[in-house]
Amino acid sequence: MQETRSDVLQGTLDLMVLKTLDVMGSMHGYALARRIEQISEDAVSLNQGTIYPALLRLQQCGWISAEWGVSGSNRRAKFYAITRSGKKQLVVETRSWERVAETMARILASSRPPL
């Protein structure tokens, strides 16, 4: 079943960007968007453009930093990297996300208690 293009929640996009930058190191916007698409095995087809306001937001919070550089094909691009406070935020967000998933799993697996 193909996932329709859906609006990805802001918060989850932030988490995905942070995790990707944490794992992959410094990347530019296009590479970041493509990487997220690949890792999620195309289950997430976001409008690639939505990544840019998200990157700005993360910059404003101080969780990533940006620097102009040169891409592989010799084009000028902005490279983003996770900061120390970003790493801290990643830990926090991951933990809360896992908690939510755990709770949901329990609820969905529950059956009627025996009389």
Partner: protein
């Protein structure tokens, strides 16, 4: 924790980003371009054609414009660019209709400015004018009887003062003795208002001094090395230029040295004393001073009266010649004493000003409603091209707030100027002077008035949006409804607002009319004398003058003579107790031909024979007494017409005898001729002249030769040929040449006296009410004009059709006028009804009432004339429209 840091950083970043918007956008453009190029490259690598690569890249990206928009929103403070755009647009709209903007701003500014100014004054003067501790427990003791309903303050001697201190109802009491003394020193002596007080004055009052210290019972004279003095704030500023160095120096009053120990608080103006001295009160059973009592907490006025009345009766028995007889004790609060009628006048004024504020707000509402109706077409169009209701509302709100804030800001400025203006013009003797220093713009009131104005402006500014939500946007754009007369509900609101505004304006006009009548009545009161070029002078002989009758009589006459022989003087006379139009000395009289008259009273005037010439009072029969008769204090007298009417109803008074036991005074400071209370022969009758103030009827009056009772003061009334001011100076010089030790205690133009004590209050009220009424009229006129104009401009097409179908211009004019004038007439009638029913509350003076049919007709005519003019111009314009033009107009 991280979250908070992040939030703060976000805010900071977004605020700073405002300044780098353009470079940030350029960066984003470049970044997005790179993104697309990289995507196209990858697509090409995967084997797509250039066109497919490009379109795949774009569709994978999503909307570029939308991305930029979201980015921009994320970048800066989101509301700012929108706000700026709204502001610019709003400003342009207002600039395009300057008339509307000016009137709206002006209306708000006037309403706010006037109401805040008046309320500030009223609050300072009425609500809490006194800085004295427990001022609400301070009272004035008045003695009243049938002939003195306004009462006079209770006088006591220094011995009787001790009785007061011991009354159970009394918490504290101090004595006041006023005198005018000469401040001698390096320059010419000047006359100073000196107050001698019992030493507990400042502990009673509880107001700390501005500089130095105040005197205490320890400073009581007698035993102290050097007597001390405290200066009043105003006197300190006027005489010593506000220099703190005066504290500790000595000053000389009537050749006695005093050390200045302090300067009183600016709001401490008790008795208007310029110098406060701890009094050296001798135990004199005939020397009276004024006591001021502070009652104990919880004690009623009635119980104080009950305790005072027996004392007053006893004093009357002990000193029948000097102490007022047969009087009842009454207690009044400080404010009642000082303000009297002015209190209700001030409250009425405040009501008037609230009306003005209401009218101002109503005007703004009308203007905005009318404008809203006219702009409905514009908003319908905007909404149909996609402007959300919120967006339109926001833009309207911005416009209204801009208008309201400007109006409010101007109003604040006006308020400050207004307070200054009112304070300088307040009638001098009608309000407690302690309040002068405290009259300033009150912060809370300002905020309140601004809030009301803003609310009005905003509420009615948003009205077009409400109206828009009711009608279908499409139908409005299609059917040229901008030329239709607007919704019925809108018209009703307009009419109601205009009627209301006219009614309130009518109320103000009627009040102004009444106030002006009062002033005119008072100022036109026949005085009985000719006040032109007339002035009075109070002179004091130097200390050490012999207190013999002969010396004083000669001295008085030579002073009068010196004055009369001065260049520029037409006539000079002594008038010891009577200063027209006010009364002086009232006492019991007896008439020989009517021994049954037991409680006859008359004003007893001690005058020179020339007084009637000086004042230009006509002689009705008989003759004046001669200078020779005056010199020997002959027992002859004149009476006025009222005296004859009352005590000689059917006979001729000439040749009959009168006498007054009141002239026999047991007072060591006064020197009387032999048997001053003996029978005198009436030798003449003069016409009536005011002798009991401007608003009370003329009292019966007897005129005695001034040599009957003398003291070291001489009171002159002088008629100058021209230029009273210069003549006053010349007379002072002549008297100085006669005897340099004589000093002028006080001198004033009679005109000045009448202005400040006769009708100052009435004039002030008339002026201010008239001002408000005129303002209200202007506001109402502009409101009506605007509404009629807008109505006309909307119905242009309709009029065009009518005229094309054959209607006369006159009938078009009539159409326009009918509706508006009907509304105005209804408003006027409501206004008159309101005025009549509220007439008791609006009464500012006892001299005129609102229920004056002539006056009401007059102001109604003025109102209708002005409003008719306001309607006429737009109506005439409607009639001058060319039908073809009107039909083409969209």
């Amino acid at each position: 924790m991280n979250r908070f840091v992040a939030l703060f950083r976000t805010l900071a970043s977004r605020s700073l980003a405002i300044f780098r918007t353009s470079s940030a956008e350029r960066d984003l453009d470049e970044e997005l371009q790179t993104h697309l190029n990289l995507a196209i490259e990858e697509n090409l690598r995967n084997g797509m054609t250039p066109e497919a690569a490009r379109s795949a890249a774009l569709s994978a990206f999503g909307g570029v414009t939308q991305t930029k928009e979201s980015y921009r929103t994320q970048l800066g403070l989101p509301f700012l660019p929108v706000l700026l755009q709204d502001l610019r647009f709003g400003f342009r709209q207002l600039w395009k209709s300057p008339g509307f903007a000016l009137v709206a701003i002006g209306s708000l500014a006037l309403g706010i400015g006037a109401s805040v100014a008046v309320f500030s004054v009223v609050r300072a003067v009425l609500l809490d004018p006194y800085p004295y501790k427990d001022a609400n427990r301070m009272v004035h003791v008045e003695l009243r009887d049938k002939s003195t309903p306004h009462g006079r303050l209770l006088p006591v001697t220094s011995i009787e003062f001790k009785d007061l201190q011991q009354l159970p109802a009394v918490d504290d009491v101090f004595l006041m003795d006023n005198s005018r003394q000469a401040l001698t020193g390096d320059s010419l002596p000047i006359s100073v208002n000196v107050g001698s007080y019992s030493a507990n004055l400042f502990t009673y009052m509880g107001v700390p001094p501005l500089l130095g210290r105040e005197f205490t019972p320890a400073d009581a004279p007698g035993g102290n090395a050097s007597p001390v003095a405290v200066l009043s704030y105003l006197f300190w500023k006027k005489q010593y230029g506000g220099q703190p160095s005066i504290v500790g120096k000595t000053i000389e009053l009537d050749h006695t040295l005093y050390t200045v120990i302090g300067v009183a608080n600016p709001r401490f103006t008790w008795g208007d004393s310029e110098v406060y001295l701890p009094g050296n009160f001798k135990a004199d059973p005939h020397y009276y001073m004024l006591p001021f009592i502070k009652i104990k907490p919880g004690v009623t006025h009635e119980s104080l009266i009950a305790q005072l009345q027996p004392l007053v009766d006893r004093y009357a028995r002990q000193d029948p010649t000097n102490f007022p007889q047969g009087m009842k004790v009454a207690i009044v609060t400080l404010n009642e004493e000082v303000l009297g009628n002015f209190q209700s006048a001030l409250l009425t004024l405040f009501g008037a000003v609230l009306l003005l504020l209401l009218i101002g707000c109503a005007n703004v509402s009308i203007l905005m409603l009318a404008r809203g109706v006219a702009r409905q077409h514009e908003f319908a169009v905007r909404s149909s091209v996609g402007a959300g209701r919120g967006r339109i509302l926001r833009q309207l709100l911005t416009e209204s707030i801009m208008l309201s804030l400007t109006g409010a800001a101007l109003g604040v400025l006006l308020a400050y100027r207004g307070v200054d203006l009112i304070t300088t013009n307040l009638p001098m003797y009608s309000f407690p002077h302690e309040a002068s220093a405290a009259i300033h713009v009150n912060g809370t009131v300002l905020l309140f008035a601004v809030a009301i104005a803003l609310l009005t402006g905003i509420l009615f500014g948003l009205s077009p949006a409400w109206q828009l939500s009711r009608a279908e946007a499409s139908s409005l754009t299609q059917s040229n409804s901008s030329r239709m007369a607007g919704s019925l509900r809108g018209r009703h609101t307009h009419r109601a607002l205009i009627a209301g505004q006219v009614a309130l304006t009518m109320l103000l006009l009627a009040s102004a009319g009444a106030a002006m009548r009062a002033f005119l009545t008072l100022s036109k009161t026949p005085l009985g004398i000719n006040p032109q070029n007339l002035f009075f002078m109070a002179l004091s002989l130097p200390k050490g003058a012999p207190l013999t009758w002969q010396y004083l009589a000669n001295s008085q006459e030579s002073i009068r003579n010196a004055a009369e022989s001065t260049l520029g003087v037409e006539s000079a006379s002594v008038s010891t107790t009577w200063l027209p139009p006010f009364g002086g000395f009232r006492g019991k009289v007896a008439v020989s031909s009517n021994p049954n008259l037991t409680d006859a009273q008359a004003d007893l005037a001690l005058v020179s024979p020339t007084i009637f010439t000086t004042l230009q009072v006509p002689l009705l029969s008989g003759r004046f007494f001669t200078p020779e008769e005056d010199a020997r204090a002959a027992h002859v007298a004149l009476v006025n017409r009222t005296f004859v009417k009352r005590y000689f109803p059917d006979g001729d008074p000439l040749g009959k005898n009168v006498r007054s036991p009141a002239l026999k005074m047991d007072n060591p400071h006064l020197v009387a001729t032999d048997k001053p209370d003996d029978w005198l022969q009436i030798i003449g009758v003069v016409d009536d002249a005011r002798n009991d103030g401007l608003d009370r009827p003329i009292q019966p009056q007897i005129f005695f030769p001034d040599s009957f009772v003398l003291d070291t003061n001489t009171f002159l009334i002088v008629r100058a040929k021209a230029d009273p001011a210069a003549t006053m100076r010349a007379v002072a010089q002549s008297i100085h040449r006669l005897n340099p030790g004589i000093f002028v205690v006080e001198q004033h133009d009679i005109g000045w006296l009448l202005d400040t004590q006769g009708w100052a209050t009435e004039r002030f009220l008339a002026a201010i009410f008239a001002l408000f009424a005129v303002l209200a009229l202007l506001l109402a006129a502009t409101g009506i004009y605007s509404v009629v104009s807008y109505t006309v401009s909307q119905r242009t097409r309709e009029f065009g059709v009518r005229m094309a179908l054959g209607a006369q211009r006159a009938s078009v004019v009539r159409l326009v006028l009918q509706a508006s004038l009907l509304t105005v007439a209804i408003g006027a009638v409501i206004g008159i009804v309101l005025s009549l029913s509220l007439s008791k509350f609006i009464a500012t003076s006892s001299h005129a009432t609102i229920r004056d049919p002539l006056m009401l007709v007059g102001v109604s005519a003025m109102l209708l004339a002005v409003t008719a003019l306001a309607c006429l111009y737009p109506a005439w314009r409607a009639a001058s429209i060319e039908p073809m033009q009107a039909l083409r107009l969209e």
